[in-house]
């Protein structure tokens, strides 16, 4: 054993007995680093020895007990004991269990929301507020239950609702931020509009469902000019026909393309202008 190793051992023993001041006062930086690493190692080994002395099942059940106890404390708002835990792994476990428990309670409250939708709705939520306003103005226009995520509107009423949303001083949605489509299954497509009022600062989402066999929605391209390319792209990918659009051509794909690629039942074509589209058939991969 060299002198340095002896020195390290001495310092480690000092450090383990709680005298860290002498360890920190080592002037040689390399030596200090080595001593500290050795202390950490020794502590870890000691911890392992202790836990291995216990029987495995006992250890597990005792940690489980600790976790459930601490989670209960955490749910009541007392985080002090959790943060004071020395074992890093155990602390992380407790915290993750706490998050899980909190999520479950939130989910429960969500379910109660669904059972009685109109009681717990936040009236300040713009999606709720404007859905109610639209219902007053156009009694049959709302397609689904009023909720906080979106406003469902029937395609026949959409043009009038859109005009009202833009022109009414209380709404004044002057910016159409995005139009997208979705294939929501059960042979239905929907088109989603994100509207924003730069003047009043509120934001809503409109969803319009149409059957996949005859997907027709009135175009709002002349109300919000930004809708022009958005609607063309959605037409390109989903085949929703925006009636009244002045230039409804494909946006990204070539004009002679077959099918609408983002629909769930899309089959890619075998060849395009004599070029093989799919070089290897699926069976070869399997």
């Amino acid at each position: 054993m060299t002198d340095q190793e002896k020195q390290i051992q001495e310092y480690v023993e000092k450090g383990l007995s709680g005298d860290m001041a002498s360890v920190n006062s080592i002037e040689d930086r390399i030596l200090r680093g080595k001593v500290k690493a050795a202390i950490v190692k020794a502590k870890r080994l000691g911890g392992k020895k202790e836990s291995s002395q216990l029987k495995k099942t006992d250890a597990r059940s005792s940690t489980d007990d600790i976790i459930t106890k601490l989670v209960d404390e955490g749910l009541t708002g007392n985080m002090e004991n959790i943060n004071a835990l020395d074992d890093r792994v155990l602390r992380a476990k407790v915290k993750s269990a706490l998050i899980k428990a909190k999520k479950q309670t939130v989910k429960k409250s969500d379910k109660t929301n669904l059972n009685s939708p109109n009681l717990d709705l936040n009236k300040d939520n713009p999606n709720v507020k404007f859905a109610e306003l639209i219902q007053q103005k156009f009694p049959d226009a709302i397609q689904c239950e009023i909720n906080e995520e979106y406003i469902g509107i029937k395609p026949d009423y959409w043009l009038n609702v859109a005009r009202w949303l833009k022109s009414d001083p209380a709404a004044s949605f002057d910016s159409l931020q995005c139009v997208t489509g979705t294939d929501i299954g059960e042979s239905k497509l929907d088109s989603r509009y994100n509207l924003h009022s730069m003047k009043l600062g509120h934001l809503i989402e409109i969803r319009i469902e149409v059957p996949i066999e005859n997907p027709k929605i009135p175009s709002i391209e002349q109300i919000w000019r930004s809708g022009d390319w958005f609607e063309r792209e959605t037409y390109d990918m989903y085949g929703i026909k925006y009636e009244g659009h002045r230039d409804l051509r494909r946006m990204l794909l070539p004009e002679d393309w077959e099918g609408y690629p983002l629909r769930k039942d899309y089959q890619e074509q075998e060849t395009y202008h004599g070029i093989i589209v799919k070089k290897i058939k699926e069976e070869v991969w399997d």
Binding site: L253, P261, Y266, H273, I276, K279
Partner: protein
Amino acid sequence: MGLLENKFKDNVLVAKLDQILSWSRATSPWMFQFGLACCAIEMIATGASRHDMGRLGMIPRASPRQADVMIVAGTVTLKMSLRVKRLYEQMADPKYVIAMGSCATSGGPYWQHGYHVLKGVDLVIPVDVYVPGCPPRPEALLEGILKLQEQILEERPLTRKMV
């Protein structure tokens, strides 16, 4: 003027016309810049001062009429493939193609599910050199250009058909 100033006396050099032709072709392969996707960034880096594609006699041209080599750098969509073919046909003979990156060689990440991507530019035009990588580093592209030059040097345009 240059490095060779006063190095040679008045002289006569003798060579085969064939070899001179292929040598002159190999040392000035003007390139048709065809940056389609992220590979274009590496192609630009190859042209910039650190790697300096110009020292191999390569000058970027914006027109197919003035170019000898087409470097297809990036994803070729099916919509673009028709244009690639047309531009290749507009180049004057002799013409060469370098497929740069995995998209241009095989479709790359769009191999299985890219409904809109051409699975390798060699389905549309003949390719001389494939440069693998996603995207290839400038060194890889330079290696590809050197390989192409080797290939051009082997050609004997007057006595043999092109290899």
